[in-house]
Subunit: 534 residues, 2 copies
């Protein structure tokens, strides 16, 4: 008898055998999958020779590079733990996460040598800095990636237990330093499988000919597990490196990209690219899976006008991260096209093997009426076991045996969830939740509007009242926004008391390290604004 482990190697064994001549594209390079796997093997061999031991953590700091993708496999497949460092964090926070994760090695892309130089003076836990651009490094315990790989041989991977830790990455909380979440091989494999099954449903209908290009950074929640999924299925994968919309659009055109994934603000950047009209042929029919934040329907409409089909998804770091994708269930097949298009842009329905409930504060299931607001709690085979070295917050996360997402949602009668708000961002007025994400989505439909964020302002009478922050693309006055909202009040889509007390026009939206709108900063702005207006 042989105990079969659901480890990353099992996904590679399969695709290598059957799709070994599929392409992986990065900058000027075009590799066959089997050549890529040889690279993985050589990196693994080099890491072992450098002294990486089972259970030790190896950090990676880079853009979405080929080297990074190799590390996605090589590090966990030798039994080590991959720390995907969030390079968008402030330096201090980066170092905090590298200390907290107890990183022993760091692989550093050529644009991040300066971080290694600073880090080498502060971090005692790093035994080796492996530098892609290691020619003139002043770091004592550093080694050039290229020279390290020069003597690499094809490595024979050991059998790794599926419950061994494979990855760690950090997620920002409301207060204090980010928290580490860890994932085992089994979790990654089952997550990739479940995502694959959902992508193969309508409307995505993933086929072997589909070509993936993601604009979700590799450091951000396994890039939503898409790289693992694409490679497991033997689909062509295109890596963008550092995000540059010109390069991205050229890649879409040249490589025949058909499936992308990104947060709404990156989609906004993509479709706002000045020369977008010259790429209309290439982006026609493109499917873009949009998550991280809710997808404003106005943005989805603008994308549709360019021939792009957007599909909603919802997730969170603790879920590794995907929870729902807006594919069709049997109920969605019986509604009219326009309504189904709207549903496709909702966060969606649970992935296969994702057990999702929306519950009240007593943990009781709420009705699927599209109105009852509760917290999303989940179980799935790929959720994090908890926060690294933080048993207290872990217990809070997993209270009653369900992972508490902290996200507020309603479920519609077809079973699709609609996020109302992050619990921490929620605006509660007169004891009732305002569906700020729906409000944002409706305001985003106005052609002159760029991005929107609803923030709660403390209010003596109501507890909180909503304020809208808005960026504009062309001149518009508040009255036009109010009359747009009032039309939705008349049709019963939103409540009269949801209408923001004020609308604040700003130059640009502040963003988090993962390109979501940073509501923390907007709340601070709002405090300043009140002081100013007093």
């Amino acid at each position: 008898m042989f105990k079969y482990n659901l480890n990353l190697r099992s996904t590679i064994d399969y695709s290598l055998r059957n799709f070994g001549d599929q392409d992986i594209v990065y900058r000027g390079e075009r590799l066959k999958l089997k050549e890529f796997f040889e690279g993985v093997s050589r990196l693994a061999d080099s890491l072992i020779k450098l002294g990486v031991k089972k259970g030790e953590t190896v950090a990676v700091l880079d853009w979405d590079s080929l080297l990074y993708l190799e590390a996605y496999y090589a590090v966990p497949m030798i039994g080590a733990v991959l720390h995907t460092v969030n390079i968008r964090y402030p330096l201090e926070t980066i170092f905090y996460t590298m200390i907290n994760a107890e990183d022993k090695f760091a692989i550093v892309g050529e644009d991040f040598t300066n971080i290694a130089e600073k880090g080498s003076k502060i971090l005692n836990n790093i035994r080796y800095w492996i530098l892609k651009d290691g020619k003139n490094s002043q770091i004592e315990n550093s080694i050039s990636y290229d020279s390290l790989l020069k003597t690499a041989e094809i490595f024979s991977f050991p059998e790794i237990d599926e419950n061994e830790r494979a990855t760690i990455f950090y997620t920002s909380g409301t207060t204090g330093f980010p928290k580490g979440v860890t994932f085992t091989h089994r979790k990654l494999v089952l997550h990739a499988i479940s995502l694959a099954l959902s992508l193969k449903k309508s409307p995505i209908n993933l086929s072997q000919d589909d070509v993936f290009l993601g604009l979700v950074p590799f450091f951000h929640a396994h890039a939503w597990v898409f790289p693992y999924t694409a490679i497991m299925l033997g689909n062509k994968l295109v890596l963008p490196g550092r995000y540059d919309m010109k390069i991205v659009l050229e890649l879409i055109k040249k490589e025949g990209v058909t499936i992308m994934y990104m947060v709404p603000s990156v989609l906004y950047m993509l479709i706002s690219y000045p020369d977008i009209k010259s790429y209309l042929d290439s982006i026609k029919g493109l499917k873009v899976i949009v998550g991280g934040s809710s997808l404003p329907i106005g943005l989805a409409r603008k994308a549709r006008d360019l021939g792009i089909r957007t599909i909603g998804t919802y997730g969170l770091s603790e879920a590794g991260p995907v929870v729902t994708v807006s594919y069709h269930n049997s109920y969605a097949n019986r509604i009219d096209d326009e309504r189904r298009w709207e549903i496709e842009n909702a966060p969606g329905i649970p992935l296969p093997f994702m057990n999702l409930r929306v519950v009240d504060t007593n943990g009781k299931d709420l009705p699927w009426d599209g109105r009852s607001v509760g917290e999303i709690v989940i179980r799935a085979p790929w959720l994090t076991d908890g926060y690294y070295k933080d048993p207290e917050k872990t217990e809070e996360l997993w209270r009653d045996g369900w992972l508490h997402t902290g996200d507020l949602a309603v479920v519609d009668p077809m079973g699709y969830i609609h996020i109302v708000d992050r619990e921490k961002d929620a605006v509660k007025s007169g004891g009732e939740f305002i569906q700020s994400i729906l409000l944002e989505s409706i305001i985003s439909e106005i052609p002159e509007v760029g991005e929107v964020a609803i923030i709660g302002r403390k209010d003596e009478k109501w507890g909180e009242r909503p304020i809208a922050f808005v960026t504009i693309k062309s001149k518009i006055d508040k009255e036009k926004i109010y009359s747009h909202l009032n039309r939705y009040v008349e049709t019963g889509r939103i409540q009269k008391w949801w209408i923001p007390d004020d609308i604040i026009f700003i130059e640009s939206m502040p963003k988090t390290s993962t390109n979501k709108i940073d509501k923390k900063i907007l709340r601070e702005k709002l405090r300043d604004y009140i002081v100013e207006s007093n």
Copy 2:
């Protein structure tokens, strides 16, 4: 934290939530998936009330009925073990398997009451016979299924560990009584997932609109796991009951069946149905997955002439059972249509997560040259842990940590396997294997030929020499068969020394309990024949 188990319930939770109004059709009945699950729940409640304990085995004897499908879920989901009794075995063998499996309960379909009556006198291990037709039963410890279910309530299923045993069924060996193979929840779930992923590849391209109807008995190796897969995915499933080609063709027509699965001789029966011409519209575009024995190319051609697309598959009971399906890998996408059609009718390439090797007697991998014959050995997450209560045969099965299939095959340069023979059926002449399945396939192309089987006859000089058994549809002489074979010798497709020493025409092919050609009986016939001809 919550330990997520890959158990059957996890597949149901998902499809119930998202595809609860999908149809399951059986005879006059049409149920929604959610109604079906209520039936599963009531059956589970009834079994618990009757005293079924965790780990106890419940036998089912029936055609492919709704009741059977309910038991497929209800029995394992209460933590009991489902024994799918092979009702095609001789009575003595049926009872042997029910004693060996230590069955404690037996659910008996209306056509099998007589087996229960006889069994009740012999089997002391059965505490209750649950009879679908229980009105006039003389069996003391029996209960009518319908009265049992009358008081059933909706059952709240317990959490079952994924490594709990879920099923047992028996597989015939070369000698002696059949051996029991067991499967856990985890194995069933991962098998269903892997099958789903392969069905979603080209050329099957399974979509949500596809409708399944299988002609692989429920007692036979989980009906190739198709029922679990279809329900997990929320696809419509049609149950045929007892196989009657008239009823089957009517169901195909009425329910819009698009995907079927069966052994070659059942396909032969289907396309030989006298009135098949009146169903041409309904079977046009039908995809039929053919396994159990290799699919003769002549049969595939005949099916193609009727508009049916056949797809090969290979498996064995010990693998639970599917090992390969002939979907397209990246190499198959670059060959011409006719060659690809041939490949689609080969046994295929490994399912996702199936690790398959063809090895020589020293366990060394053989080259993918389409010529080197070796044994198929496999690893996958869903293979049986071994033979029930038979550690010796288990060790033999799993020697060196690989499951030894006992099947001889070659691998072609694209990675597709081609079964040469069962090891026990293999014909070795002058120290070299004759590819008898290829020979059979080629002879089957002759329009006058029905079914073909190659059997080895002992030969003093060569060790063995091949003899062909052939059934005919219309008059043909041996010479025509020989000249057909000689043409293939000329093109280099087969070797001259493979040509059978003799061709024996017989009335009909003997079949095993699973409708495969029974080569054991043919070998006995051959002994008689030799005696006769001496």
